[in-house]
């Protein structure tokens, strides 16, 4: 990508955020992948050499935020990008950073996932921002995502605080046309200046807490004049306050309802620009607040109206007409207006006189040829006599929860599979506990849990599902791959050495696609009295294609359907003439040994 200032480009919101950071002249960018934030670093890594900044996939989000903070301490501009759960991982650093402050502009992009589409929680980062007392901005479009990110660095330096930019799925993963701005080359002559202000001690914290509280007023003043808050003029006996992607739904819902009230669009939900909001609600009798997720703006508006003694009806989540759950869209926002304004909803005529047929659900599933399927099958076989508990974790392998594998009895958060299994083992001593964790997740937050197992003499089997990539979020490099974010060779983390180093005595490495060997390794691990680890290693089927393919010999097939019922492989389907293997077969071959009549055979050229 060139400078191309002034030209229009097709950009995903996350790409636009990356462009905003480059326009601001960042020196360092760090991240751990997580939907819907991953493409920010994916894009930044691709441009790093050209623009001369450092870009990295860090081991986890806490590491990423601290790395960016260190660069900021030295005076450089830095960005860390993460998803909302990643902010939980990094929260220890972020809470203290709010007190300590920054030198160079530090921007934390935290992508929220209302719905949720790909997350464990529907948490609202704007609440976190107000809890940490950090300013937060919320883009409504790809263009605004770029412009906001760029401006966030200036704001951060003006307030001497980290600033959060909070896109949501429909701004991160929405494309739009973006007009590019000038790129600032990163400066080179930064140096860390030693100063007691960088060392957080209780006496300093007490003083810093005062300045943190005071900075909230300063932020409000800057926000009252900023370009991301504006009023769309109109005429109606009510006004609307909205923010982020909800602004888009409000504009189109009102158009469908043929209404044109004044709209205050807020790009800076915390701290609320009091002066601007006071002016807006000053002449109104009724105001409707439409914001996705929690009533962050609404609660601040209620407090402001109370403080200003303004006699106004504030309608939204607290009055019960607007939902705080799930993702919004035009239809939902239109129905909120209809309820509040007592407009009878217009019934959409059905597109057909016929009733639509019943539809089967289609949840996501493990890919054809996925090595996790083989590992799950093997451990399920080995553990079924004693009704083993299969504790899961976060990654593609979470999809093992579904029938027929059903090998994710628990899933909580990154790294928790190992430690939940350990907790269970303390209560049910004779029941086998198996914890599954992916290669990237193990490095993110599995190593500490495994050390705890060894130290406390746990009787748990840990299966590291090493498919040699961060598959779920889009194949980002991690330390186990010997590859950096920018595609350079990097020291490769050695899982066997790590596991041995943590003190594990029983360790085996298997290729899960060798099903019989994996079942035997699983049996030995489960029989071992103590902490055992099996590394199930085979490359992700999306990265390394097998040359093999298989077919079902009609003459041998007894139509027992064990292959379908035990494996759940999307390539084994029922054709016009019985069970067949579809074109999508990825050639793992694990269906071969499980067929009781040996009907599944390799295609020979």
């Amino acid at each position: 990508m060139g400078n191309n200032a002034g030209t229009r480009m097709l950009m995903m919101g996350n790409e636009a955020i990356a462009r905003g950071a480059v326009e601001a002249g960042i020196s360092v960018a760090a991240s751990y992948p997580g939907t819907p934030s991953s493409e920010i670093m994916g894009t930044l890594a691709g441009w790093a050499k050209q623009y001369g900044y450092h870009a990295e996939w860090s081991v986890n989000e806490k590491v990423a935020v601290e790395t960016a903070a260190g660069a900021s301490y030295a005076g450089a501009r830095a960005i860390a990008s993460l998803k909302q759960m990643g902010l939980n991982v990094a929260s220890d650093a972020v809470m203290s950073l709010a007190y300590i402050g920054i030198e160079g502009g530090l921007v934390l992009v935290v992508a929220d996932d209302p719905g949720p589409h790909s997350s464990q929680t529907e948490q609202d980062t704007r609440y976190f921002a107000s809890f940490a007392m950090l300013p937060v901005m919320e883009p409504s479009s790809a263009q605004e995502a770029k412009d906001m990110t760029r401006w966030a660095f200036e704001l951060s330096e003006a307030l001497k605080l980290p600033v959060i930019v909070r896109p949501t799925t429909r701004s991160s993963h929405a494309h739009g046309d973006v007009t590019l701005g000038e790129i600032t080359p990163p400066k080179k002559d930064f140096a860390f200046k030693k100063d007691p202000r960088w060392c957080i001690l209780p006496s300093l914290s007490a003083r810093k807490h005062v300045s943190l509280v005071n900075s909230q007023e300063e932020a409000k003043k800057l926000f009252s004049k900023c370009q991301f808050n504006w009023v769309d003029e109109g005429d109606a006996d009510f006004g609307v306050i909205t923010s982020g992607v909800s602004y888009n739904y409000v504009k189109e819902a009102l158009e469908l309802l043929c209404l044109s009230p004044r709209i205050l669009k807020i790009g800076t939900p915390y701290p609320l620009p009091d002066e601007l909001v006071s002016n807006f609600i000053g002449g109104l009798k009724r105001v409707i607040v439409i914001e996705e997720q929690e009533p962050v703006i609404e609660d601040q508006v209620i407090r402001l109206a109370w403080k200003n003694k303004v006699d106004i009806e504030i309608l939204g989540k607290r009055s019960g007409q607007v939902s705080r759950l799930g993702e919004f869209n035009i239809d939902r926002v239109k129905s909120f207006f209809e309820t509040i304004l007592e407009i009878p909803p217009d019934q959409l005529e059905p597109i057909s006189e016929k009733q639509p047929p019943d539809l089967p659900g289609r949840p996501p599933i493990l890919c054809a040829g996925c090595s996790h399927r083989a590992a799950f099958y093997a451990f399920k076989e080995a553990g079924k006599k004693k009704d083993a508990v299969h504790c899961g974790d976060i990654g593609c392998y979470t999809l093992g929860y579904a029938p027929p594998l059903e090998t994710q009895d628990t899933c909580l958060c990154m790294g928790a599979g190992i430690t939940i299994a350990y907790g269970l083992s303390l209560i049910e001593k004779d029941r086998p506990q198996i914890a599954y964790i992916g290669d990237s997740t193990f490095l993110h937050s599995g190593m500490t849990g495994l050390l705890n197992l060894v130290y406390n003499k746990a009787n748990v089997t840990v299966v590291i599902l090493d498919n040699e990539t961060t598959a779920m979020t889009g194949f980002q490099p991690h330390p186990g791959m010997g590859l950096s974010a920018t595609g350079e060779p990097a020291p490769r983390a050695d899982y066997e050495k790590i596991v041995r180093g943590l003190g594990v005595e029983h360790l085996e490495t298997v290729n899960p696609n060798d099903l019989q060997a994996t079942i035997e390794a699983a049996q030995r691990a489960l029989e071992f009295n103590g902490t055992s680890v099996v590394i199930a290693r085979a490359p992700c089927v999306n990265r390394v294609k097998s040359e093999k393919s298989f077919y079902i010999d009609k003459d041998e097939c007894s139509d027992c359907r064990i292959c379908i019922e035990d494996l759940g492989c999307p390539s084994i389907i029922i054709g016009d003439d019985g069970v067949i293997i579809a074109d999508t077969c990825a050639g793992c071959g694990i269906c071969v040994p499980i067929c009781p009549t040996e009907a599944i055979k390799e295609v020979t050229p």
Binding site: L10, S118, R170, H173, K354, P357, T584
Partner: protein
């Protein structure tokens, strides 16, 4: 002018490439646009949907119910699932083939293919329904189904995007060694609509 298009399918079928081709074509024509798609977990064989909109006075990337000018279905099941987004008088361009969901294979739920096809042809909208997977295989690979669909869209989509433009933008997005297969698939998709 405001044009809205829904693209539905199963994760891994190439819906994202098709939606990118249409977005780039709209961009090249100078339209302002918004689009959004399913990424992340559902990409692993789940139900996926892309919303694409271009033209004037656009804000939301998500299309409201009954407002899509066209529905492009990579999969019969998924086309039926999202048909409520289509406007009366719009056009549904749908693959008659479908990926059987696991629940159907093990007999946990039913899918009546004939009923679904009848339903799709009963819409108060134009319906183009044919086996696109079969044509893709004829062109050289079942993976070229998205090119067949784009070819059909270029003829029947009622959009201001010309077939030549769509074809060129699509071919720019795919590896050179797959050009011939996809060009043929696009052509077969077009021919099926005449």
């Amino acid at each position: 002018m405001k044009y809205s298009l829904v693209l539905t399918g199963v994760g891994g079928q190439g819906t994202i490439l098709a939606s990118r081709a249409i977005s780039l074509a709209a961009m090249e024509k100078g339209y302002s646009f918004r689009s959004t798609e399913t990424l992340g977990m559902a990409q692993r064989g789940g139900s996926v949907i892309s919303h694409i909109r271009f033209g004037d006075n656009l804000y939301s990337p998500l299309i409201p119910a009954g407002q899509a000018d066209a529905l492009l279905g990579f999969d019969l099941v998924e086309a039926v699932r999202w048909v409520s987004l289509l406007k009366m008088g719009g056009v549904a361009i749908v693959n008659a083939d479908f990926v059987p969901p696991y629940d159907v294979l093990i007999g946990e739920s039913n899918f009546d293919e004939a009923e679904a096809k009848q339903y799709m042809t009963s819409l108060t909208a134009e319906t183009i329904l044919f086996d696109m997977t079969g044509l893709a295989i004829e062109a050289g690979s079942f993976r070229a189904t998205n090119a067949v669909l784009l070819g059909a869209f270029s003829v029947k989509g009622r959009s201001p995007l010309e077939p030549e433009l769509l074809e060129r933008v699509m071919l720019d997005l795919i590896p050179k060694k797959l050009t011939d297969v996809n060009r043929k698939a696009f052509e077969l998709g077009r021919e099926a609509c005449f």
